[in-house]
């Protein structure tokens, strides 16, 4: 029997090969359609729904979820411009951008230095960069709560040199930023390192032979050639930073919210689902805009080169 199938293996195998990949892909498609596509379609619908009387929502088409981002409805139904949510959106854009830029500024020299180390030491250093990524994210934020918090080492240090006793480092954008840079930095160092390691060293020498100083070489040779690594590191940091929930909730406190913590608040207490969904849509759109923009840019660069 087995011999027979083996001899005619070619025919049945070819027939099966057409079908098998689709069978193999089916579970992935099913899972993603059920747990991703359908939920996203539903949340689009909910962002246009009407807020229910007792939390939740009623189906319908209504723009109040989006209107609420900019306007507050008064008792008599008049619309009043309130910038509080706009400020949260702008803060989110600002903090995510600054986080990405700070990570980049820190990652490039470190990645360059690691790439220049001898073999074994290099792999140990890469391991050390990767390691914090394996540690719980919430604990890494918590570590910064201890450092910046009440009775924390940093405050102790400043109090020793005569800082006023009521001073605090917590519950402001700076604290959120500190925790964000700290939690996402490994995601920037690794792709930038991978790019720098592939860099052809002779190009740097050539730049110097052509009288380019270190700064010019960095700007005109090293950075352009590591652009792919910088771009993928940028995406890896920017997307989670843009949707950050933990850092603004724990470090920023209730007042300094970002879009992620605002969305969580709207759904957490079942307070206003259509409004939360509308904010989520804006968040998703902004991230998509950045991703599509980067994709188009890299496509154009490929065409040019």
């Amino acid at each position: 029997m087995s011999e027979a199938t083996a001899h005619h293996a070619d025919t049945p195998r070819r027939r099966r090969q057409i079908n098998l990949p689709y069978v193999g892909l089916a579970p992935a498609w099913l899972l993603m359609i059920f747990a991703l596509i359908i939920p996203i379609l539903i949340i689009i619908a909910v962002s246009f729904a009407v807020r229910g009387a007792y939390g939740g929502f009623d189906w319908g088409f209504d723009l109040s979820g989006y209107r609420q981002i900019l306007f507050n409805e008064g008792w008599t139904g008049e619309m009043e411009f309130t910038p509080q949510y706009l400020i949260i959106i702008l803060r989110t854009i600002l903090l995510a951008t600054v986080t990405t830029v700070l990570c980049l500024i820190l990652a490039v020299p470190v990645a360059y230095w690691i790439a220049g180390q001898p073999g074994h030491r290099k792999s140990v250093l890469v391991f050390l960069v990767t390691l914090p990524f394996w540690m719980s994210m919430i604990l890494r934020v918590y570590a910064w709560m201890i450092i910046l918090g009440k009775d924390g080492p940093l405050l102790r240090f400043f109090e020793f040199f005569g800082a006023p006793s009521g001073m605090t480092f917590m519950y402001n954008d700076g604290a959120t930023l500190a925790a964000m840079v700290y939690t996402y930095i490994p995601l920037m160092v690794l792709p930038v390192f991978a790019s720098i390691e592939k860099l052809d060293g002779t190009l740097i020498e050539a730049a110097h032979d052509l009288y380019g100083n270190r700064w010019t070489t960095l700007r005109r040779v090293i950075l352009p050639l590591t652009a792919p690594g910088i771009a993928s590191g940028g995406i890896l940091v920017f997307v989670p930073a843009f949707g950050a929930v933990l850092e603004p909730t724990l470090m920023g406190g209730g007042k300094q919210m970002m879009m992620g913590s605002l969305i969580q608040l709207q759904f957490g207490g079942g307070r206003n689902w259509p409004f939360g969904a509308a904010i989520a849509m804006i968040l998703m759109m902004l991230v998509m805009l950045v991703l599509v923009g980067l994709a188009l840019r890299s496509a154009r660069n490929e065409v040019e080169s």
Partner: protein, 268 residues
């Protein structure tokens, strides 16, 4: 030679990098240090003590959260890794597959969306279809966002592997199943292992989705830790944190060693 070396070197990088690694590890070190402090007020040092470890281990809410997390992570890892393996085999090894690119995007979709959006979207779906069981909700959501993390290392491994071994086995009359079982599977094992470890890690570490979906009986570890942090820093929390840091240290070392060994066998 000396001159050549100098050209590529930028002064001060060593110092920046040293500061960077201190910056990376000092905060974790402080948590570990404070966990051995006998004083109830975290940052006032009195004496070295293990007592917070004892009280952490006797905390039944913590243990129940740990159990929930481990169960969800184990099931989600198996599901995500299986689905990712099937998808990777089909995309890389399948012949005449249409929608290859689209399928790949589909599998990686969770990476492109902010997690909070997915979390609330899933919450609405589950509430609409009336799914009550907290465990089932968590397993479905975790399987979905863990799949790309399992997929990427497996795909990378499959792509880097020539077809020669599989073709040789087929020439020697091995059936498709035997080829997969005896040739493909052992060869992609490092990728498979790395993918499974990543999926497990991502599931164990997840806060945003779990916090959205968790209900009374099903609190995962990060959600429980979040509630502890909300209640204020405590030395017991530091002890819990230290144990988790040590656990991830062990896990990471094992995972990266196995993955690294896989790369070394390639080189020979």
């Amino acid at each position: 030679m000396k001159l050549q070396h100098d050209v590529k070197r930028y002064p001060g990088l060593g110092i920046i990098s040293t500061v960077f690694f201190i910056y990376l590890y000092a905060p974790l070190g402080i948590v570990v240090l404070y966990s051995f402090n006998a004083n109830r007020i975290t940052s006032v040092w009195t004496e070295f003590s293990f007592k917070w470890y004892g009280s952490a281990l006797n905390n039944s809410a913590l243990m129940s959260a740990l159990k929930t997390s481990l169960t969800v992570a184990a099931i989600a890892t198996v599901m995500a890794t299986t689905i990712a393996l099937l998808a990777a085999l089909s995309i890389i090894r399948g012949k005449n597959v249409r929608y290859r690119k689209l399928s790949e995007t589909m599998v990686n979709l969770p990476l492109l969306l902010p997690e909070i959006v997915l979390a609330v979207a899933t919450l609405i779906l589950f509430s609409l279809i009336g799914l009550q069981n907290g465990m089932v909700k968590l397993v479905i959501a975790h399987s979905a966002f863990c799949t790309p993390f399992a997929f990427l290392p497996i795909r990378a491994r499959l792509q880097g592997m020539p077809l020669d071994f599989e073709e040789a086995a087929t020439d020697l009359y091995a059936s498709r199943w035997i080829v997969f079982r005896r040739v493909t599977l052992p060869l992609i094992f490092p990728g498979l292992f790395a993918g499974a470890m990543l999926a497990f890690l991502i599931s164990m570490d997840d806060f945003i989705t779990s916090n959205m979906l968790s209900s009374g009986g099903t609190t995962t570890l990060p959600v429980y830790i979040f509630s502890l942090i909300r209640a204020g820093t405590s030395p017991e929390l530091n002890a819990i944190a230290t144990m988790l840091i040590v656990a991830s240290l062990v896990l990471a070392t094992v995972a990266l060693t196995v993955a690294g060994r896989g790369q070394r066998t390639d080189a020979t």
